[in-house]
Symmetry: D2
Subunit: 359 residues, 4 copies
Amino acid sequence: MGSTFGHLFRITTWGESHGGGVGVVVDGCPPNLDITEQEIQVELDRRKPGQSRITTQRKEEDQIQILSGVFEGKTLGTPISMMVWNKDARSADYEEMRVKYRPSHADYTYDAKYGIRNWKGGGRASARETIGRVAAGAVAQKILSQQSGVEIVAYVNRVKNLSFEVDPSSVTRDQVDANIVRCPDAGMAEQMIDLIDAARKDGDSLGGVVEVVARNVPAGLGEPVFDKLEADLAKALLSLPASKGFEVGSGFGGLEMTGSEHNDPFYSDSGRIRTTTNQSGGIQGGISNGEDILLRVAFKPTATILKEQDTVDVDGNETVLKGRGRHDPCVLPRAVPMVEAMVALVLVDHLLRQKAISD
Amino acid sequence: MGSTFGHLFRITTWGESHGGGVGVVVDGCPPNLDITEQEIQVELDRRKPGQSRITTQRKEEDQIQILSGVFEGKTLGTPISMMVWNKDARSADYEEMRVKYRPSHADYTYDAKYGIRNWKGGGRASARETIGRVAAGAVAQKILSQQSGVEIVAYVNRVKNLSFEVDPSSVTRDQVDANIVRCPDAGMAEQMIDLIDAARKDGDSLGGVVEVVARNVPAGLGEPVFDKLEADLAKALLSLPASKGFEVGSGFGGLEMTGSEHNDPFYSDSGRIRTTTNQSGGIQGGISNGEDILLRVAFKPTATILKEQDTVDVDGNETVLKGRGRHDPCVLPRAVPMVEAMVALVLVDHLLRQKAISD
Amino acid sequence: MGSTFGHLFRITTWGESHGGGVGVVVDGCPPNLDITEQEIQVELDRRKPGQSRITTQRKEEDQIQILSGVFEGKTLGTPISMMVWNKDARSADYEEMRVKYRPSHADYTYDAKYGIRNWKGGGRASARETIGRVAAGAVAQKILSQQSGVEIVAYVNRVKNLSFEVDPSSVTRDQVDANIVRCPDAGMAEQMIDLIDAARKDGDSLGGVVEVVARNVPAGLGEPVFDKLEADLAKALLSLPASKGFEVGSGFGGLEMTGSEHNDPFYSDSGRIRTTTNQSGGIQGGISNGEDILLRVAFKPTATILKEQDTVDVDGNETVLKGRGRHDPCVLPRAVPMVEAMVALVLVDHLLRQKAISD
Amino acid sequence: MGSTFGHLFRITTWGESHGGGVGVVVDGCPPNLDITEQEIQVELDRRKPGQSRITTQRKEEDQIQILSGVFEGKTLGTPISMMVWNKDARSADYEEMRVKYRPSHADYTYDAKYGIRNWKGGGRASARETIGRVAAGAVAQKILSQQSGVEIVAYVNRVKNLSFEVDPSSVTRDQVDANIVRCPDAGMAEQMIDLIDAARKDGDSLGGVVEVVARNVPAGLGEPVFDKLEADLAKALLSLPASKGFEVGSGFGGLEMTGSEHNDPFYSDSGRIRTTTNQSGGIQGGISNGEDILLRVAFKPTATILKEQDTVDVDGNETVLKGRGRHDPCVLPRAVPMVEAMVALVLVDHLLRQKAISD
């Protein structure tokens, strides 16, 4: 269970990291949207491993195929099925994983839950599962862009203890993609890359923060109580592998302020109601207010490292495990398109929900 | 929409702060559970306003009535409907809210979404809506306790910049309820109370952090992809009014570490597989691992203050607003039972889901 | 579980026949709809027992209260909570039901499922549960009428072996309500009433058919695969107590025809595409085609009779049971507003779903 | 929307009759179930076209591939993705469908709903969509068989006006599959085949009834109100292409009886509570009572015929359409495995729901 996300724009992902393939079914996409495999591939290429030395160097082709729901270049309104085939895996690489639990991976909890586990890789916990999310997110972003001019831009603004304040109102995807760490400041990017490189050489890994802004989101999206916009966004982003924290607007930082400092005063911008500050992060009472939606996600240092670690085997005997070959020193650059995709999936779902009750 | 939460243990809340009343329907509660209005009232009393000078002093009786689903003291398996009547409100108190938008409240976004709003109070955005959650959470906590011995304890561990490290493995609800700020350390509680008192006298408000631990949660709860345990918990907690941030385990703080420092080594505790550290916060790959589940929620300083603020009226004209009478200088003490309730609702839902697929 | 119905216009009913009360929460109703308790009461009065000698003569007041979601006569867009209080029941009437299972009631299956049962009445299986449905259906019918001019008219067109062919294109609710059996033909109504009267005097009961037409339903409602319009309607109507069969359009009767006789030829009605016949009952491929939607529901003879019947007690010992006091010789007249309500709930849900994907 | 079915055992089908392929994702299947492509293929072969002269002779290979969720022959608990590739379609066969609406097909309603349609075939309305249902149903049947010994057997018991009474307590799948019309009586089968053959030669089609029995279903499955077992079964079966009617137990036929004739008396069968008759069809108050579940589905005569028919083109001009090549004179034999699959999907979902609330 739990492989479906969304209420009206609903995606279902499937597939383990090893086995036939991975994919997604998108149900509820409005008809007559122009969409091509090429557009979706652009986003997948931003997600895929092997883009640079600072992320995992495992090569994946990840060529997307649209199997249904698109006809003569346009969506039919019926389910869009998309998939990527898995390559033959070298099982030998994984033989040790069959009997030993990797610390801070999902090996042990899958066994505890199901009593069985595809030990040839990370199963559903693999970042490979996010291929379907990113593909569906590309469709969602196109709808948002066409129907409301929404722009979603994510970027790395912290690696370990190196952080940089980005102006969310103006940052562009081109600036973000200009370097391999996806921090829109060239100088900071260089420092971050050096830091990750050092960890990589040490067989270790680093975490950090991806911040994301959604601009031009119309006021009125989100529901008052449980399906508050920030609640659905929190769920979406905490469902990404390795995420450990979430903030909207002022987040934990806002706790330094008093209420009178934190409240966002309203003003009239040529008749349009706006706020002079944006501690709310574009959401008030669970509903978008038309200001930029601003979120932050903490991603832990990747669990796959090359250092020797204490662990137990499947029978509960204590042992050690030492990673071999390639590891992923920093998931952040690849998390950027994943974060954008999840934000888009939430926004498009609420956009459709709002249309249902509007005149 | 969006007033329903949960997949198998499903609650639907209803009611505005002003109008007939507020309530909840709990569908999916297992049969034959002993439950009384008194047990539920205990939790509601911990949530209600007017408990002390540092929270809102508005008096609410909040006497719960069970209208269905319980027969001769036992649950029937059918929907449990519970409600609390609203008291007559003095509309005069709210007349100004009819025409002016309170900064960082939901007044404006409700109007933007619906084109109509119950201006006599906060509508669904009122903390009063959480009565239903807390009542349902009391039922959930009883199930968790009986079926698995789960204990959930929340507490205030930060007010503005005053913070205190609590030992989650041993903290008790009695320690938490021993003072009005619900921080389990008497000395720190005194400091926090003084800080809030000062803000109160200034007509201002403060925010902070509620941390929550769930002990004795069996390994195996949570679903691999979108319904990861931390994702559902994040949604649950971000759906509470005034919450701005969420952390599981190491959270944002864990970003200071490398992967080799952050990974939780496994060891064998007389045959039971455990971890020596708990950066994971009891959840790995979205599934509980049997360790304590540890979460933190940031609550912003309450938006209702007594200071004069810039705002606009419903026609977009700039104006000022000055709160009158009572305000809520710090939501944290009352948020404690709300946080416990939401955690319980998520855990019981996943407990039932897990039973469905177990032998 | 299972007390919630609908995807965007979502109702949750609660309450046993004995206990505090029964009610419904309607979530997803569009804002700014004018609605009053009086309008809803009209439908409840058509549903309530004691309207005539041919239905159950148990008196119920069934005065509806709106507890939330309506402000100054208009819907807020937030949950509409409505309820009716239960009267004090004379438990003595039900003492025998505590120990003996009534044949073809739900007593035994509730015990088998839950191991507990509110033996003071029919619990959730009581027709009293439909109060919430009819109240919610009144709201749904108003939306359908205002947004699309939809008219829903149900009527009794068969009692036991007496049947009458009604013209669905012209029948009115006034014609239906002109007699106590709710058959729009005065002569047939008299015969039906005599037949039911005879059964009543014999302490027995009769079943029959309620047919329902929905006129002015726009083309395009319904989803291609599982949420076909007729599938959702079938579920809605088979969820009514005592229903045993469902037909759309030609139904079982259409099996006498060949495909060439059964297909509905298209023609152009001044540019509007229509069909010359309507074997399809207004639905093709699961989607409305703009013709009248025509359905039939079979209701079994009511299980509550006054004759002596063989049964077992809760310990499995064979015994006999003889009903006392009042019984319900024919559920059909009261089923008419229930059927209209369920059809309205399905149609309004699909109307909102269609708006979500339309330009 | 509407391509997902089930609450805990949840399937999502995708694919048009023409395009890449068709498939299904099964989410919520318990882990450690032995399952092979061969077992699933057996059911698909019973569904596929071209099995005999009395169904469509279009040849489809329909070779199933399991893409995920099964590891070393056992289910993982994670989504099972299965698919069948489409063959190259001869578009020329469909060119006329691009501009003319086939009577009683979904061509017009899809255009009315979406403003676009894959005119190369029936799109989602094609019987080809049911491949995914039958594949998922094979998994569901295996679970039901292993966990509770449930047996589901469907059969044709009426073609046009030829009908035959089958003993549901003893009929076997071998008897059903012994002839091409899937009526378990050899003599009646011969008559039915002759009748269909005559229609086939005339370029026409026939409808009829598929009856289905589920034996050994434990008491207690189903939910009291909206998710009554018969309600979910009705939805499941009315979602099959060409179905027009549904009955449970006595159905429309039971209307001839009075309540005293129709009620099912309880008796004690060596301590087990049973009923002497089964007008209820194994379901009382929406919940299974342990007796055989007995249902009937009416399938209309197939819309695809070879005779000339009046229709309109996409611009609303009146015209005629004459089918060419192959048609499907009777869908009933192929509907048998579809009906079994849908019944299995409903039962397994409720079996898992019941486990969630049981001790």
